[in-house]
Subunit: 151 residues, 2 copies
DNA sequence: TATTGTTATACTCTATAACTATA
DNA sequence: TATAGTTATAGAGTATAACAATA
């Protein structure tokens, strides 16, 4: 890569070297096969994200889900209500603080995650193979570090 | 980083190690100060992206803008109509192929980009400083490579 | 008084299909 | 017959504010 870094500092970055745009374009590349996968079970990208977060961290309060899934709380309220009706998630009051409700994944929800497990693995194995293992994990490490950064 | 990579291969990835989610979360971190910046001139994130792409690559046909700015063509049609009315962009017919129209940035559009140039520079300089120059450019390189990949 | 979550609203983007004009 | 772009439409998310219940 022969990018002139002085140039990057003295003018507005080209869109290829703009971090927000680069992150978005990269995400579109990665999401394409995932979207195709999810279309089979009629679950939206956002619901899938909520499901994954709740599976991993639940029982978890809704503000925390919103943060982890990059959604606003009002959007999440309706998503969770809808996913509750679909039997993917369930809520119960927090006994310590009754303003909160704790969201958990149901057996049906776990089943839905399982449905996509194999295909999901294949998608990312292919990606890892084409992109290179080293690049793949280096990218994940950098993204993780960036996420945890204070600006 | 002590991630066990065998684990990552044998189960669904934790959301921290999920590339789509990590890309989204990282983007949210980076976009926060940019959104604040753009709110001052009442331009949406998408319009800003279109403006940047057209400035860099224009005169450019709309399908190409859509691809570069990660927007669908129907969404773009209305964005561009609106930005044309706002005097930020202009369109003319392609003389070789009259189905196409070529989009260019206007002087007003350039002016708007210029308005944000200094603040934008400061945001990314701060980010580069906190994240580390090496990490910053390594991340951009990896994202650029990922974008150009065939899955 | 502050926080958690809900509701309401207006706006915007998404996704798909149908359509027009041109090639 | 295919492509570039537009229009229409339904659905979903965004953003903000106002609100209820609880702390």
């Amino acid at each position: 890569m022969s990018t002139n870094r002085l140039d990057e500092r003295n003018t507005i970055r080209s869109t290829e070297r703009s971090l927000p745009i680069a992150l978005l374009r990269a995400r579109e590349v990665v999401m394409e096969p995932i979207r195709e996968m999810l279309s089979k079970s009629q679950i939206s990208e956002q619901k899938w994200r909520v499901l994954r977060v709740v599976e991993e961290l639940g029982p978890i309060e809704q503000s925390a889900v919103a943060k982890q899934a990059c959604l606003l709380l009002p959007s999440l309220t309706r998503l969770i209500q809808s996913m509750e009706q679909e039997g993917l998630l369930e809520r119960r009051e927090d006994e310590q603080d009754r303003r909160k409700s704790l969201v958990s994944i149901t057996d049906n929800g776990k089943e839905l995650v399982k449905t996509h497990l194999q295909e999901s693995k294949e998608i990312f194995e292919k990606l890892e193979k084409n992109f290179g293992s080293y690049n793949y994990y280096r990218l994940l490490d950098l993204l993780e570090e960036l996420q945890s950064m204070k600006l």
